[in-house]
């Protein structure tokens, strides 16, 4: 695998500016979802409404912590790519990918179990709960697709374009992970 020295820049590359703005707009979107959840909750005496089980607390929080931990390999992957270490970057992304896939699989399992317990179309709580979680899962899934694409490209070594791509995907994951924590706290807060 070849190594490419990244040019010295006085500012961030365009791709990183691009993802920063995607994060801004997606962050605003997920922020609106969270705010809507809290708004609907604030208008009810009991939240969740009678007949719907309270959300689990411990497992989702642990899961969120696990996902957040994948920011570490993603950070070092970006670090390695910028120094031209394609193989190290590949391995770090691969390690993160395994955990992210496991996370998503377990989350989907919990999601389906909740769907058996209560419906998104019987109460505003159910609607907000499943929409918020579903939106998060879609973001995780998209990140996994980005990882797969990146790993396929990195087998051919690094180029300036791919170094930026690693940085962009890494930024994206930090965003998803932090939002994952915020969304989990929002959901879990109904049990307090």
């Amino acid at each position: 695998m070849s190594s490419v020295a990244t040019p010295r820049r006085g500012s961030l590359p365009n791709g990183v500016w691009g993802i920063a703005l995607v994060i801004a707009t997606e962050g605003a979107f997920l922020g609106c979802l969270i705010a809507s959840y809290l708004y609907l909750g604030s208008r009810r005496e009991t939240w969740p409404p009678p007949g719907i089980p309270e959300p689990h607390v411990l497992v989702p929080l642990i899961l969120a912590g696990v996902l957040l931990a994948t920011s570490v390999p993603m950070f070092f992957a970006s670090f390695a790519a910028r120094r031209g270490a394609a193989r190290a970057a590949w391995l770090l992304i691969f390690a993160a990918l395994i955990v992210q896939c496991g996370y998503l699989a377990y989350q989907v399992h919990l999601f389906l179990r909740d769907l058996d317990a209560f419906s998104p179309s019987a109460s505003a709580y159910g609607s907000a709960y499943f929409t918020l979680l579903g939106a998060h899962h879609v973001h995780v899934l998209f990140g996994i697709l980005l990882d797969v694409w990146l790993l396929a490209r990195l087998t051919g070594g690094l180029s300036e374009y791919r170094v930026t791509a690693v940085r962009v995907v890494s930024w994206y994951w930090h965003f998803v992970n932090v939002l994952g924590v915020l969304i989990t706290i929002t959901i879990v807060s109904a049990a307090w």
């Binding site: 500012s11 500016w17 801004a24 707009t25 809507s36 609607s127 490209r153 374009y161």
Partner: protein, 635 residues
């Protein structure tokens, strides 16, 4: 070629650039283009078609309201017409025309770049906009267009009270449209931050670029609340969710909050490009620099920012807590300050300069006049009792048409005249241009001013007719007459520009003695915009003659001509120091294919084929993967 090619070496460089930047000929070239100028033209003609459609809808509305108890249009068709009129003018005309057409064509030129930061994304935004527009209009042709007004309040727009697919065209079409607009806004921000010519530090950036920066940031943060509301709406309608269903603990008011959290910034998104165009035209036609340049730049940003804190003034009649309303009333009044700064700066620049009242400046004078009228009636709405008295009357319609048509569209029309020579290489007819202005000006005043009066008399908006004995008829006759005159004025604009396209006198590079960089290149500009990336030392680079003469010498030397490949430069964000050479992508089939895949997704969602929609999501993901497979390479 703009600057003189004086040596064989310079000529060889220009020839090389011609070859490198040449795109495929014919229709295929247009379908795969990444040239910001061609994309700008596509945006221009498409949004013009939608402008015509929205105009025809307005003429139907006005004709129906000419006399009491008129039966030209059935009530339910009337609902569809005013909803589509609003949707079309806001989402399919003003925004794509101002950001898509003017922004795309002019911004890279004004900042001395050869393309947008993300050329393929730029092409995608156009195709997605086109597809979303067609998507929404299919509803109209099926007789099932959205019919709950452009702000689409629930529960009226819920499945229970609007069971057809009408509202789904609205919900899904606007999500689709929002993807395009968000991507375009991100592209503008990165372009403005990173692709400016060396020396164009942030304080030397044209005010036009400041306006577009403010608009783009507003879009990045304003569209998410709308998208949230639309996702909730469609989940409620298609999957039986309960976000807005009171019986199941939902809240219709949530729609209003989310919608206006988008809707009010949207007003500034509509009008800020117009401010930008005004600040481009005024210095040129008064022959002097803008007064209070930094204040105007800050005011542009501030308007966009404060716009996010005033949304509840659209909801004063809803029954919210008084303390909430008072807060938002006060916040709404604050907007007067940045608006007035700009207004006084324009007026002072004109009064202290030597204004040449040619057609473009006339439109700006018209804009200022109508902005004052619409602005003053806007301030009145910050008074809560006044708002509660006049909400949902024609007074509101009068107010926002003075702002949105008088103040936002007039500069667009002025801008069409102003940059027509640059885009086509020919001059429009000045006499007909002035006539078209006066007709449109009179038509606008006659159409919208009487609406203040009938509004005060109590005529409600959105009603398909009115009774004969309440004294509203004379005003309605005047309004309808005005709308015909207005139409005649707009047709004259189109006729003038259409005729001049073929018969107009040749314009040369700089017919106006303009102040910004676009006037330094040839008319129309070559695909690479500038044979040599210009160096900039002031906000009025065209008035720095020595700099532009130096450009010609730099072309001789090959200093930043970048004729080696499909390249432009990136500079640092604040100081615009030369930072790196960017290898830009060239023509690509993937953007249009991605837009088509998304069209499939939305069409299948509309028709209830969720599994197939998922397949098209997969297609879209595959297209994205293929898109990014080919990397822009150094030559």
């Amino acid at each position: 070629m703009a600057i003189g090619v004086r040596t064989p070496e310079a000529q060889a460089r220009v020839d090389r650039l011609e070859r490198v930047w040449l795109e495929r000929p014919g229709v295929l070239g247009w379908l795969t283009t990444t040239d910001h100028k061609r994309i700008g033209l596509l945006y221009f003609f498409t949004s013009l078609v939608f402008f015509a459609a929205g105009g025809i809808e307005a003429l139907f509305i006005r004709s129906q309201l000419l006399v009491p108890n008129e039966k030209l249009i059935a009530p339910d068709t009337f609902d569809q017409l005013f909803t589509m009129h609003g949707l079309t003018m806001i989402f399919l005309f003003v925004i794509p025309m101002s950001t898509g057409a003017f922004g795309n064509y002019l911004l890279p030129l004004m900042i001395g770049a050869r393309d947008m930061a993300f050329p393929r994304l730029n092409a995608f935004t156009y195709w997605a906009f086109l597809c979303s527009g067609i998507f929404i209009y299919i509803g109209l042709f099926l007789g099932k267009a959205p019919d709950a007004g452009w702000f689409n309040y629930v529960p009226l727009a819920s499945k229970q009270f609007d069971p057809g697919v009408n509202i789904d065209f609205y919900g899904l079409g606007l999500i689709f449209n929002g993807i395009s607009t968000t991507a375009a806004a991100i592209n503008f921000i990165v372009t403005i931050f990173k692709l400016r010519a060396p020396g164009m530090s942030i304080n030397r950036m044209p005010l036009f670029a400041f306006a577009f920066l403010a608009v783009s940031f507003a879009l990045v943060f304003a569209l998410p609340p709308l998208n949230t509301a639309l996702v909730f709406l469609e989940l409620d309608r298609l999957a039986g969710f309960d976000f807005f269903n009171i019986a199941a603990g939902g809240a219709p008011l949530l729609w209003q909050h989310l919608f206006w959290l988008f809707g009010h910034p949207e007003v500034y998104i509509i009008i800020l490009p117009a401010f930008g165009i005004a600040t481009a035209i005024i210095p040129t036609f008064t022959g002097r620099r803008m007064i209070a340049f930094p204040l105007v730049a800050l005011a542009e940003i501030l308007v966009a920012f404060i716009g996010f804190g005033v949304w509840v003034h659209h909801m004063f009649s809803v029954g919210l807590a008084e303390v909430t309303m008072v807060y938002f009333a006060a916040a709404s009044l604050i907007i007067v300050i940045p608006s007035a700064i700009q207004l006084f700066a324009w007026i002072t620049t004109m009064v202290t300069g030597k204004p040449r009242f040619q057609t473009p400046l006339l439109w700006i004078v018209g804009f200022i006049t109508f902005f004052i009228v619409g602005g003053l009636s806007g301030i009145m709405f910050a008074a809560i009792p006044f708002d509660q008295q006049l909400t949902d009357t024609y007074f509101v319609v009068a107010h926002f048409h003075f702002v949105i048509f008088g103040a936002a569209v007039f500069p667009i029309l002025g801008g069409m005249y102003y940059w027509f020579p640059k885009v086509t290489g020919r001059l429009y007819h000045e006499g007909v241009g002035k006539l078209s202005f006066w007709l449109t000006f009179l038509g606008t005043a006659l159409t919208f001013f009487p609406m203040h009066i009938v509004g005060l008399l109590g005529m409600p908006r959105r009603n398909y007719t009115y009774p004969p004995n309440v004294g509203w008829q004379p005003y309605n006759v005047a309004e309808t007459l005005g709308s015909y005159i207005l139409t005649a004025g707009l047709l004259l604009v189109a006729a003038n520009l259409g005729w001049s396209l073929f018969r107009g006198r040749l314009a040369g590079n700089d017919p106006w003695n303009g102040d910004t960089l676009e006037w330094s290149t040839s008319s129309p500009p070559p695909p690479y915009n500038y044979a040599v990336i210009p160096y900039v030392t002031s906000p009025y680079p065209m008035w720095d003659r020595a700099d532009r003469e130096e450009d010609a010498r730099r072309l001789d030397r090959g200093d930043l001509t970048l004729e080696g490949g499909h390249e432009t430069i990136a500079s640092t964000v604040l100081d615009a120091e030369l930072d790196e050479i960017l290898h830009m992508p060239s023509e690509s089939p993937w953007p249009i294919l991605l837009a088509l895949a998304l069209s499939g997704v939305f069409a299948l969602l509309l028709t209830g084929h969720y599994g197939s929609a998922l397949v098209f999501v997969g297609v879209a993901a595959a297209v994205l993967g293929a898109w990014h497979w080919k990397e822009p390479q150094p030559a």
